[in-house]
Symmetry: C2
Subunit: 332 residues, 2 copies
């Protein structure tokens, strides 16, 4: 699976900014790949990109129409389908990270075959994986782990990739979720893999590489999330991470979606992740803490980050507000 | 998925005893359900059951033909297919735990539809699951965990169910693998579930029950197996186990399939399982150790079991050789 860029970002009739957060992530992290946005009547969001029709995007060189917006009620409306079908006719591939599949829409499947175009349903793995073999691979790997789901693992890892590349280091972000895959152009939606193959899929995603190359692997879930911890552990074992970054959101009152579950203590969370990581890489170490401070009182942020830094002896940053340079310093 | 019994066990043209180990497990644990065996020309195994033709089995009341034997090269031969098709015609359902599916054989699918019979491909979940909610369920649960794969978890849990039932306790074995499902008549092949739903599938498999009822849940894999630990952790969280039994095979030189990985120390393995189990059930405790001593020098077995019993303060048994009474004593 390698999605061709540049992209035209399809925002459809998004009712608000949140509905288009996938497109927003792609535009933020891959500005060079995003030639413009395509908005339908009633669209309530704007990424600040040039508005383009399908024809204008094609003329500008766009290769893939990326559906970066949630579909209402999880169905493809007639309005959407007619636009997507026309895109295939004009030579675009389609890529979407939705629960339902483009390939399940008969008219799109037929049009893609007729015009020799590809449909990327990035939430659904398009291949089978091997069982993990646990053998040490060359190259270096960093994995983001979390106290909870949705605490900024994707943001942190993309920021680390960007910082490393800016310094001339060899680094590739390895995507494990749908937005990350659209940003990277490839990857594996790891929570959609059959359970037996979680670690094997991560070994595939992050193959042997040159000794000075870093795979920066997007984490998923948390070892302490009662719904998804199996995914997180399989990811940790398959990654064979040399370096771990702990991601945390300090205002979260309970684990996401689980009102009865409190967040783990940071030290306890780090110890559990380290113990698990060392099964497949005895050299695994934490190299930093990435805090999503967006919901915090701004006056408290600096103190909080300083306190964690002192307590754990690790560079502690907000990737969005302060960047990840101190973490990359440590890896360089 | 509820497979009707009694069964006729199809042994096909099994080249040896090992090829029929699924059928052997079913015959051992559910003798009352197994009316007979059906062997084709060249079959090199014998379960000691009455040999029956399809017609004889049907006349004796068999409801399901259980394919309890591996198919050579993972394909259904013409010889097999003609027998299986005839079984559907005679009123049997079919159940198999193979990698490839009965339902993918067009002639069997058509015959099942025509005759109103069912095809159970127990290795492949036949429903979708919810994400785990982590809410405490009524009733009690025991889960087998292991130092490795294939160390006797299914045997130990079936022996505990049998012992509990013999004492008049309410107990149900909950199957998580294909042989277990054929033995129980229902269950979920947990390693074939989509990764996001591992724990949710276990919550489904082991629903709320009366306060004095025990679900005896078959374990899978090991937290220390670099290929499958994600499955084991999801299973542990979904089970919300009150009682854990550690299963171990002392002569194993490395983790199954992973020559570079040593088995974990027993205490370390128990601590890791307990810590993980307590996320969803803070009351979780180990209640026994089940050792598969089949490969040990017989003269050393008693000493070895006694030593573990002293070291961990837990009833330590070989479920096959000495039974599980001391573990059930502790639970009663």
């Amino acid at each position: 699976m390698a999605i061709q860029h540049p992209y035209l970002l399809f925002l459809g009739d998004a009712p608000d900014q949140l509905a288009a957060k996938t497109a927003q992530g792609v535009a933020h992290w891959r500005p060079d790949w995003c030639l413009g946005q395509l908005r339908l009547e009633g669209c309530q969001t704007d990424l600040g990109l040039t508005d383009m029709s399908l024809e204008e995007g094609a003329a500008a060189g766009a290769k893939t129409l990326v559906i970066g917006v949630a579909n209402r009620g999880g169905v493809f409306s007639e309005k959407w389908i007619s636009v997507l079908e026309k895109a295939l006719l004009l030579g675009y591939d389609l890529a979407a990270g939705l629960h339902n599949r483009l390939a399940d829409v008969a008219v799109l499947k037929a049009a893609a075959e007729q015009h020799g175009r590809r449909l990327f349903d990035v939430r659904h793995p398009d291949r089978e994986f091997e069982v993990a073999n646990g053998r040490k691979r060359s190259g270096k790997r960093l994995l983001a782990v979390g106290t909870d789901c949705s605490v900024g693992k994707m943001y942190a890892t993309l920021a680390i990739e960007k910082e490393m590349r800016a310094r001339g280091m060899k680094a590739d972000f390895r995507a494990t979720g749908q937005t990350g895959i659209l940003i990277a152009g490839s990857g594996v939606s790891i929570d959609a893999v059959v359970a037996d193959f979680i670690s094997g899929a991560v070994e595939y995603l992050s193959p042997a590489n040159s000794a000075d190359h870093w795979d920066i692997i997007e984490g998923q879930g948390s070892l302490f999330h009662a719904s998804y911890a199996g995914v997180s552990l399989g990811l940790l074992h398959g990654a064979q991470a040399d370096a771990l970054v702990l991601c945390h959101e300090p205002t979260r009152r309970h684990m996401r979606g689980l009102p009865d579950y409190r967040l783990p203590d940071l030290r306890h969370c780090m110890e559990a992740n380290l113990a698990a990581a060392r099964l497949t890489n005895p050299e695994a170490e934490f190299v930093g803490i990435a805090v999503n401070t967006s919901q915090m009182d701004k006056a408290e942020v600096a103190d909080y980050l300083g306190r964690l830094e002192g307590e754990y002896g690790l560079p502690t940053v907000d990737p969005f507000a302060t960047g990840v340079a101190p973490i990359v310093d440590r890896l360089q």
